[in-house]
Symmetry: C2
Subunit: 250 residues, 2 copies
C-alpha cells in the first residue's frame, strides 16, 4: 500500500527544487530501474505484484507493492511499466590527471532534458565516461533526462561545473574542441586521442565566453558542401557525429 | 477573427484521420511556415497582427488575423510563435531511373513522430532527397513530425510505399543497406555511391521480412569494441552516423 506521504515525495521529485533538497531522483521502467539499482542506492522501489514476481533485484531499502492505479498516480510516463524507484543522486569526483588522458564531453547550456539524456546515451556508446555540464544546463535528474538515458546514467559520470573555470584549466593541457560554421572540416583535421569536446545550446550554439576557450574549431560538413539545407543539426545528432569521428580514428 | 469552423478544422488536423480526409496538414512558427510556404500550397495562414507586419510572404489563399489567445486555442505548441498555417499535402512521384543513381533512405516502421522529423532533417543535411516509408510508419504530417523537421520537409520528398515490394524492385539494381549487431563494421566496409539505407523500428529494429531484402549488412561499432554499453543508439542518431559515413567517402 502506497502511503500519501510516499505519493507526495515521489511526485515532488519531478521538480528540481525537491530533488536538490532531498538528494533523490526517480526512474521508471524495468530496464532502467534494473540498470540503476546495481549502481545507485535505492531508497524505495514501488512495483506491481506481477513485476515483483518476475524480476530479481537486491539493494532496495524499502519495497512497496502497489496496484497499477497507484503507479499511474506517481508515474511520469504515458504507459507506466509497473515499476518506479527512488534513487540517491550520486556524487562523483574527478581528477585532472585522469581527465588529461582521455576524451570527455562538456555541455554549454544544453537545455532540453531529452537532448541531455540522448547525449548521455551517446557518450556511453562511444566509451566516454565523463560529461561536464555548465551550471545552466538542464538537470540530469529531470525524469525526462533519466528516461532518455535508457540506463546509460548508470555508467556515465555527470559533473556540474563552472564551465569557464573548468575549460581554463583544461586548455593549457589538452585540446578543447567545439563545432562552428566556420570551423575546419572534421574529416580532414587531425584529432587528438585526449581532449574535451564542447557542445553548445540548442538555439545559440556555444556561448561567446566559452568559444574563447575552444582551441580547435571543427565543422561538421553537410552534403553537397555549401548546398542550401537545414541550418543545423540537432545537438544530440551533432554530438554523435563528432564522437564517432574521434573514435573511428582510434 | 477566427471562426468556429476554422478552429474546428485546424484542431481536427492533429488527427491523422482528418488529415487523410481533407489532404491538409498544419505547421507552426516563423521559420517553418516561411520555409514551407514557398513549396506547398497554403490554404490558410493564421497570425497575429505583429507577425503579419514583420513578415513577408505570398501564396496564401486566405490570411486571418488572430490574437494570441485564439492562436493558443489552435496551437500544438507550448509557446505558440504567433503564426500557424494549413498546407495541402504534396504528392510526389519518383522514378526508378532516378532512384538507381543516388542514395536514398527507407524507414521500416519508425514509430515516433519526433524521430521521423529528426530523420527528415538529417536527410536534408546530407543531401538525401527521398525517404521511402513503410505503410505502418509514423505519419509524416503529424504536427510533431512537421515541427521536428525544422523546415526540411520543404526539401526532402517523403513517399509511403509497400516497403517489401519497393525493396524487391531495388535490390536487383542497387545495394540495400541495413544495420545489424552482426553486420560488418561500416568504417571498414566498401560503400557504394548509390543505394537504399534501411533504418528500422525503435524497439525491434529491421523486421524479419525486410531483413531478407537487405543485401549489405552494416554494423555501427561502439567503443571500445565489445564493451558493455547502451544496447543501441536512437534511430535518429544511427541514421545520422550511417549517412555521415556514406557522405564522408564521397
Amino acid at each position: 500500500m502506497l502511503s500519501k506521504n510516499k505519493i507526495k515525495l515521489i511526485t515532488s521529485l519531478s521538480q528540481k527544487k525537491f530533488r536538490d533538497e532531498t538528494g533523490f531522483f526517480v526512474a521508471e521502467g524495468t530496464k532502467l530501474v534494473l540498470d540503476l539499482i546495481t549502481v545507485f542506492p535505492c531508497s524505495l522501489l514501488v512495483a506491481t505484484l506481477g513485476w515483483l514476481k518476475e524480476n530479481e533485484f537486491s539493494n532496495a531499502d524499502e519495497v512497496v507493492e502497489a496496484d497499477e492505479n497507484d503507479i499511474r498516480k506517481i508515474s511520469n510516463q504515458k504507459s507506466p511499466q509497473g515499476v518506479l524507484a527512488v534513487f540517491k543522486k550520486p556524487e562523483y569526483s574527478w581528477s585532472q590527471e585522469d581527465l588529461f588522458h582521455k576524451l570527455s564531453l562538456a555541455l554549454d547550456e544544453v537545455q532540453d532534458p531529452g537532448n541531455l539524456g540522448t547525449i548521455i546515451r551517446i557518450a556511453d556508446w562511444f566509451g566516454i565516461s565523463d560529461i561536464f555540464c555548465s551550471e545552466n544546463s538542464a538537470d540530469v535528474y529531470n525524469p525526462k533526462t533519466v528516461q532518455a538515458t535508457m540506463g546509460a546514467l548508470a555508467r556515465v559520470h555527470i559533473h556540474t561545473v563552472n564551465l569557464v573555470k573548468f575549460l581554463e584549466e583544461c586548455q593549457s593541457n589538452i585540446p578543447v574542441y567545439g563545432t562552428f560554421m566556420d570551423g575546419e572540416n572534421i574529416y580532414e583535421k587531425e584529432l587528438s586521442k585526449t581532449g574535451i569536446i564542447v557542445m553548445g545550446n540548442e538555439g545559440n550554439g556555444i556561448s561567446t565566453e566559452i568559444e574563447k576557450l575552444v582551441t580547435e574549431r571543427l565543422l561538421i560538413p553537410n552534403f553537397p558542401a555549401g548546398q542550401d539545407t537545414s541550418e543545423s543539426l540537432n545537438v544530440g545528432v551533432a554530438t554523435a557525429l563528432v564522437c564517432a569521428e574521434f573514435r573511428r580514428r582510434m
